[in-house]
Structure formats: structure tokens, C-alpha cells
């Protein structure tokens, strides 16, 4: 059942949805677009008054990698592979580490006031819901706010965002995600990175479906909604929302757009440096090229490329270095700039081939 107009105002008026223990609202997203769903979190965080009321938001995404607010995507995941496979990259506003989402993973967001922010309680609720379904399921919450299956497999990770008056705690829950894609995209191939960004702690993971094939996403969502409804003494009723509906969520499309900008996804990476080298094979000889760069706000601030002397016309490499300064640390911008720099030089096929080889290798760093 979609959100009727009269309910829209309920999201904005404080304390209308009653209940002895305080109001509550369970929302589920109709979209599997990671940016739209993250925008809904933002919207609820900014717009909804949570005095005397709590909100639970349930959502799932098409394949995407989601990094934490202060993380470095080059350090955390295989961006090259993701581009090839069409897996999106999103940066959320909460802290914590990197996770892989697909439709076999469910996301739960618990919205409360700052004062009522309590992660342990939320996770214990999830565990209760799981045990209600399967009493003999060996799941418990660790002190790192993970949910662990069988004592060793992580099935849920947590992150949180605190604002001035409201806060939210969200967590994942692995039902039937593609573990091989998960492990391949969450392995970074980029070498020589030095950064103060929050690093993820890798864990062995397992799907609940592997424990019991009947534990589908739908079943788990039902169980958690029921447990939440019981806890907050509200009607077990899940309201579906469309994250693209401006009428119900005014201003949501701007929030979605902001989350997709390069400046947010890559530009918010804390300052980092790369110091690496690569070997190029050109006409039976192997050349080593050293690259040193400093990247701030996702842009190359300082750049140094060390190519063997005489391999390229004098000054051409310096031209490239000058062009790259200020450029986004991104393969297509670097490609365009590199191609343009080549125009300033008289060309022959030999030079072109060498240049293309150098540039292809540079792209591999991004």
C-alpha cells in the first residue's frame, strides 16, 4: 500500500502516531537504487521530527559497493572491476567500513532522537527476530556491533550517523548475497597507497540462506518488522515509499543527485598519497616507471612520473605531469588530458604507441 496523502503530514507533525510506548513507523523502499535509498535516509534524518516517535526503514539495493563517510575507495575496493561489471559505488554519510550490497542483502535503518540512540538494543532486536524464526540459530551480537553466525561468520555490519537532534543506526543482514562477487570487488588491487582514511576490517561472511534455505529476504524483513512493531507497541504495518516521489518527500531528488556527484563519492576521500611503480614491456625491453602522487579532494595535487631517460621526447613527460596537476584522479579525465598533451608534439606511430602504453598503465592506477 503506497503512502496516502494524509499520512504524508504524519511524517512532519511531531508525535501524532500514538501508542503507549511512543509512536513508531515502519517504512520499506520500493526502489533498489542505492543513491535513492541513501537519499531517503538523509531526508528522514533532516526532515522528520522524532520526538515521541521512532522510524524503521527497510531497503535493498541492486549490486553496489557502499563505503563509509571517511573512507578511501581506492583502498577499499576494486574500482576497475566494478566499472567493468557495472557495479555502482556510493559513499554513505555514516561512518564505518565498506560493504557490498545486492538483492540478497537487506538493510535496516533505525531512526531515533539523539538521546534515544542505542545500537545494542537495535541489534538485539534483530537477533530476537531471527531467533523467533529459528530458535536454534546460533547468532549473537559482538561488542564491535557485528552480528555473528556460528561464532565465526559475520552476517551483519553496523554504522551510524548522529546529527544535532536526530540519529540513525543502520546495519546490513546477509541472506543470499553473491559471495564470490563480494570478495572480488572488496579486494583492492591498488598498491602503494598511504592514507589516514578509516580502513575496513575484513571478515569471513556467510549467508543465512546457507544455514537454512527457507530464510529468504522477504521472510526476514517480515520477522524484523514484526519484532519492531511488538517492541514499540505499534501496528505491524509496513508503509511502502517511492524514493523518487517529490510529493511525499519534497526535496528528495536533490538529495539523490548530490549523493551521485563525483565530488561526494570520490571528492570526499581524505588526503592520500600513492608511491608505486609499474613495468612496461616495449619491443623486447622492460622499462620501470615510478609514479608518486598526492591526491586531495579526489584531485591530483602533486604528481611525479619517472620514465627512463630518452624514452620519450624531452619535456613531454613534464608536460603530462603539469597537465595532471589539478586533474581528477579518474581514468577518463587522465586519458583525455594525456591525449591532448600528445597533440602538442610532432607525432609518429612509435611515439603514439609508447604514449598509449604509458597512459594505459597510468589508468590502471585509478
Amino acid at each position: 500500500m503506497a503512502l496516502p496523502r494524509s499520512l504524508r503530514s504524519c511524517l512532519q507533525r511531531p508525535g501524532v502516531l500514538g501508542g503507549a510506548g511512543g509512536g513508531g513507523l515502519i517504512l520499506q523502499s520500493l526502489s533498489d537504487d542505492v543513491y535513492q535509498n541513501l537519499a531517503v535516509e538523509d531526508w528522514i534524518h533532516d526532515q522528520v521530527s522524532l520526538e515521541n516517535r521512532q522510524v524503521l526503514f527497510l531497503w535493498r539495493n541492486a549490486p553496489a559497493v557502499v563505503i563509509g563517510r571517511h573512507q578511501n575507495p581506492w583502498q577499499e575496493c576494486n574500482l576497475r572491476l566494478m566499472r567493468q561489471k557495472g557495479i555502482k559505488l556510493a559513499r554513505r554519510r555514516s561512518g564505518g567500513g565498506t560493504v557490498y550490497h545486492d538483492l540478497g542483502n537487506i538493510n535496516l535503518t533505525f531512526f531515533t532522537t539523539r538521546k534515544k540512540y542505542e545500537r545494542m538494543d537495535n541489534l538485539k532486536l534483530v537477533v530476537r527476530a531471527l531467533k523467533a524464526l529459528r530458535p536454534q540459530l546460533d547468532v549473537h551480537v559482538t561488542d564491535r556491533y557485528d552480528i555473528v553466525l556460528g561464532g565465526r561468520y559475520k552476517i551483519s555490519g553496523t554504522a551510524a550517523k548522529l546529527g544535532r537532534t536526530t540519529a540513525y543506526h543502520h546495519c546490513t543482514l546477509l541472506c543470499g548475497a553473491d559471495k564470490s562477487v563480494l570478495s572480488s570487488v572488496l579486494k583492492s588491487p591498488y598498491k602503494g597507497l598511504k592514507s589516514n582514511a578509516t580502513a575496513s576490517v575484513p571478515s569471513s561472511v556467510r549467508n543465512l540462506l546457507e544455514e537454512d534455505p527457507a530464510l529468504t529476504c522477504e521472510l526476514l524483513l517480515e520477522a524484523i518488522a514484526e519484532e519492531y512493531a511488538m517492541q514499540h507497541q505499534i501496528d505491524h504495518h509496513v508503509t511502502l515509499i517511492n524514493p523518487a516521489d517529490e510529493a511525499v518527500l519534497p526535496g528528495i531528488n536533490n538529495k539523490t543527485k548530490e549523493l551521485q556527484t563525483w565530488e561526494w563519492v570520490y571528492g570526499k576521500t581524505p588526503k592520500f598519497s600513492i608511491s608505486t611503480y609499474f613495468d612496461m614491456t616495449y619491443k623486447d625491453s622492460v622499462l620501470e616507471v615510478k609514479v608518486d602522487m598526492e591526491v586531495k579532494h579526489g584531485r591530483i595535487e602533486v604528481c611525479n612520473i619517472d620514465v627512463p631517460e630518452q624514452w620519450l621526447p624531452p619535456g613531454l613527460c613534464q608536460e603530462l605531469v603539469k597537465s595532471l596537476t589539478g586533474c581528477r584522479f579518474c581514468p577518463d579525465e587522465v586519458t583525455v588530458l594525456a591525449s591532448t598533451v600528445l597533440r602538442t608534439c610532432p607525432q609518429d606511430d612509435e611515439l603514439r604507441n609508447k604514449w598509449n602504453l604509458l597512459c594505459e598503465n597510468m589508468r590502471m592506477l585509478m
Binding site: T335, V336, N356
Partner: protein, 476 residues
């Protein structure tokens, strides 16, 4: 709250500040003047140490991850100051006061302690120290107020001082248009609202829009009496125009453009334009489109333009050449690598189709499809973007007829195609018919290419396109 009464002013200035305070305590109406003066006057407010408040869950220390402000910036209450992180939680710290940031106590990635000072804020002496507790954003209001808020869909933001001003003047905040950040209601907004209500004209503030004088009407029949009476009086509306000039560094695609254009400037360009009747080609393409579709390729006009250009280059190879730096040698390139200018969201890129001289029209179309999809995904490789020898730019897809394209070095010629228009033309029998007309604008390097060569090449290219069957004779 620990308040430091820092007297950072000398004795002379101190006297002045007292004066300012006294002045301020009078009619609130004039306080917007004070706001304008604030930035230029000497700072003599109280420095308040804003401490990091309790995060919850017994957390005592956090890491500072990002500063949203720097020393010297002015902040309003509820503005974001910084982002800190603790154990997977990211916390936005907002300001409790209006004022100017005087000191940041931590650098990025340093550990900050709950209960210890985070920033020093200088607040207005006149305003006094703000209360310890956070002011509730939505004060108790009448039911009508509520309705207003629902319609707007967001909470009205205003500092306590502004709310007091509104209350004292019996103004409903929901009826005031906020011009501050996040639609926050500022003191100016209340004053504007008041002015509208009372019909008073406030003295023009420096930020007011300049209303252009009414234009002189020419020959428009109006009563001369009216004209005389309507002397344009610039209405000074103190509108808070918050637009500012924005300066950013030239980077990325723009930088590439700057480099290319600077190099192109060295080439003496001459232009040659003509009109092509594409009526027959339009029909031919309509017939061939479905065939290409069955092979999974979208067929536009470009493959024909490109192939015809290549046939022309076989006759006039100097247009597919390159001049060296010293202008001593011309290299006639064997391959016809024809570049096609493409507009992407980041800027203009020119990938090229390699070896057009040995490609069929269909193969060119397939290659264009490939380059277009890579281009829109931002995945073009350096091989696709280098090695071009001649370029065609289809600006006509956006609009325009004639243009003056700039040659992309190290090439010596470029053609820009305007849009296809349906225009009346005369046929051989002197009858008017509907023709599909497109304009082409060529630019060539006048150091090595003369007008006659360019004209002959253009005529040949034109003849291939106006009579596509003739291409069959020369196709290799």
C-alpha cells in the same frame, strides 16, 4: 559554559565598542545596519569556548575527520562545524552560537575529547551568551502555523534572536520568506516583511538590485500626460542578493581544451563554407537503416560523411597531412583516422575511427556505435583518442548552420556540419521543391593548404553526398 572575557581591543577601540553597544540597544529596526557594519568594524565580542558535547554510549574521545569552517568564518547557530568519527559512528557537530570562529583546537585526524573545547567562537557582546541548552527548533505554535509548516514541508529555521523579533512584532514565522542558508529566516527577512506590511520604504542597502530605468517607448500611442507623470523612480527594495562570484581552478577537461586551443592559435586558419543538398542521402539512409538495425547497429548520417571525406582525401592527400614544428616538412599520413567530435557531460572529446580508407560504411557505423557507448560511460582508451588525422564535428545535432571550427593540431583541416533544414530550392526545371539542406564549414591551415584545394575537396565531398550512387564508383 566557561566564558572568557577577552579584551582584545585597545582602550580607544573599547570606547567605540561601548558606543556600538549603546547604539544597538535602541530601536531594533536599525540592527540590520549593525549587521552590515559587523565585518568591517573591530571585533570586540566575547570569546566563548564551544566544548564537544556528549556523543552518547559512554564515548569519551572521537577523531576529527573534516572541518566545515576555518578560522575567521562567521557561523550561525545550527551551522555544521565539523564531522567527527567514533567507532563506526559519524557525528555532525553543529554550532550553538552565532559568531565568528576564532580558533580550531584540533587538526584533521587528531583525537578530540568530549567535554574539552573544540572551537573558540567570538559572539556579539550585545547578544550575550546563548543559553546552555539547545533551543528547540519548533516552538509551540498555533494549529494554523502547523498547517503552514506542513504545506512547506520543512521546519522553519531561525535563531532565538530572530524569533524574539518576530514575536515582538506579531509576525508569524511561517509567513516570512527565509533567504538564509537552508531557507533560514534572517533578521533582514523580518525587516523586509515588516516594511511590506507597513508600506515603509527602508533606506536602500548596498545589496539592493539595480532596477534599470524604464525604456523610452517609440511611437507607442500612450497619453502624453501619463508619460510625463511616469518618471521612473528606482524602487529600492533591500533584497538580500546572496549570489557571489565563484572562482575555481581550470582543471581536467577545461585544461585540456586550453592546451589544445592555445596550440591551435598558432595555425593560420582560413574558412570555406558551402551548402549540401542531402535529399537523396536522406532517402538512402531511410532505406538502409532497417538493414543496419538487423545487424544491431544504429545508422546515422555520420558514417556517410566520414566515408565521403575519406574518398575526398584520396584525391587531396594534403588535407590528411601534418606540418612539423619548424614548418620545414609536411608528412602525408597514409591512414585516414577521422575524428568525430563528441559532447560528453564533462566536455568535448574527439575519438577517431581508424583507417577509414579500408572500412565500409557499415564498419564505420559499427565503430561509431562502439566509440559512442564507451564515450558516454567515460571508458575511452588513449588509443581511441590519439592518432587522428582529420576531424568532422557534427555541431548540427545541437543546432546552428555555419560555424568557424578550430583545427585540432597536429591536423591541418577540420569540417563542421550544421543542422539539416528543409528549405525550398529550384530544381533543373526551374520548379521549387522541398530540399534537405545542410551547411558545412571547413577550416584549413593556410600555410600548406590553399583555397582552391579546399574548394575542390569540398566540391568532391559534396558531390558524393548529393549523389550517393557516385560513391559506388570510387569505393575501395
Amino acid at each position: 559554559v566557561c566564558v572568557h572575557h577577552v579584551r582584545s581591543c585597545s582602550s580607544i577601540r573599547f570606547i567605540k565598542s561601548k558606543y556600538v553597544c549603546l547604539f544597538d540597544k535602541s530601536a531594533l529596526k536599525f540592527s540590520h545596519h549593525q549587521r552590515l557594519f559587523r565585518t568591517s568594524s573591530v571585533s570586540c565580542g566575547q570569546i566563548v569556548q564551544f566544548k564537544l558535547s556528549d556523543i552518547g554510549e559512554g564515548i569519551t574521545e572521537v577523531t576529527v575527520k573534516e572541518w566545515y569552517i576555518k578560522e575567521g568564518d562567521s557561523v550561525s547557530q545550527f551551522d555544521s562545524i565539523c564531522e567527527v568519527q567514533s567507532d563506526k559512528a559519524s557525528v555532525t557537530i553543529t554550532s550553538r552560537y552565532d559568531g565568528i570562529i576564532r580558533k580550531l583546537h584540533y587538526n584533521l585526524d587528531e583525537i578530540a575529547y568530549v567535554g574539552k573545547p573544540l572551537v573558540d567562537i567570538e559572539i556579539d557582546a550585545s547578544k550575550g551568551v546563548a543559553p546552555e541548552e539547545d533551543v528547540v527548533e519548533t516552538p509551540a505554535m498555533s494549529h494554523e502555523e502547523h498547517t503552514h509548516q506542513e504545506i512547506k514541508g520543512h521546519k522553519t529555521l531561525a535563531t532565538p534572536a530572530v524569533r524574539r523579533l518576530a514575536m515582538e512584532n506579531n509576525i508569524k514565522l511561517s509567513e516570512v520568506v527565509g533567504t538564509g542558508k537552508d531557507n533560514r529566516i534572517l533578521k533582514e527577512d523580518i525587516l523586509n516583511y515588516l516594511a511590506k506590511q507597513t508600506g515603509a520604504i527602508l533606506p536602500p542597502s548596498p545589496k539592493a538590485e539595480i532596477i534599470p530605468p524604464l525604456p523610452k517607448s517609440e511611437g507607442v500611442p500612450t497619453a502624453p500626460k501619463d508619460k510625463v507623470r511616469k518618471i521612473p523612480v528606482p524602487v529600492s527594495r533591500p533584497i538580500a542578493f546572496s549570489g557571489k562570484d565563484k572562482t575555481e581552478a581550470v582543471t581536467g577537461f577545461q585544461k585540456a581544451m586550453v592546451k589544445t586551443m592555445s596550440a591551435a592559435l598558432k595555425i593560420p586558419h582560413f574558412g570555406y563554407c558551402d551548402e549540401i543538398d542531402l535529399t537523396q542521402l536522406v532517402q538512402l539512409r531511410e532505406e538502409l537503416k532497417p538493414i543496419a538495425q538487423t545487424r544491431g547497429i544504429k545508422l546515422s548520417f555520420m558514417p556517410f560523411f566520414i566515408k565521403a571525406a575519406s574518398l575526398g582525401l584520396l584525391q587531396y592527400p594534403i588535407l590528411n597531412a601534418s606540418l612539423d614544428e619548424s614548418c620545414q616538412n609536411i608528412t602525408y599520413k597514409a591512414s585516414h583516422n577521422i575524428g568525430v567530435a563528441m559532447d560528453t557531460e564533462q566536455g568535448l572529446i574527439v575519438p577517431n575511427v581508424k583507417n577509414v580508407q579500408v572500412c565500409s560504411v557499415f564498419e564505420i557505423a559499427a565503430e561509431l556505435n562502439r566509440l559512442q557507448s564507451l564515450g558516454s560511460a567515460g571508458q575511452l582508451g588513449t588509443n581511441d583518442l590519439t592518432g587522428g588525422t582529420f576531424t568532422l564535428s557534427n555541431i548540427g545535432t545541437i543546432g546552428g548552420t555555419y560555424t568557424k571550427p578550430v583545427i585540432l593540431p597536429p591536423e591541418v583541416a577540420i569540417g563542421a556540419l550544421g543542422k539539416i533544414q528543409v528549405l525550398p530550392r529550384f530544381n533543373g526545371k526551374g520548379e521549387v521543391f522541398k530540399a534537405q539542406i545542410m551547411n558545412v564549414s571547413w577550416s584549413a591551415d593556410h600555410r600548406v593548404i590553399d583555397g582552391a584545394t579546399m574548394a575542390r575537396f569540398s566540391n568532391l565531398w559534396k558531390s558524393y553526398l548529393e549523389n550517393p550512387a557516385s560513391m559506388l564508383l570510387d569505393l575501395k
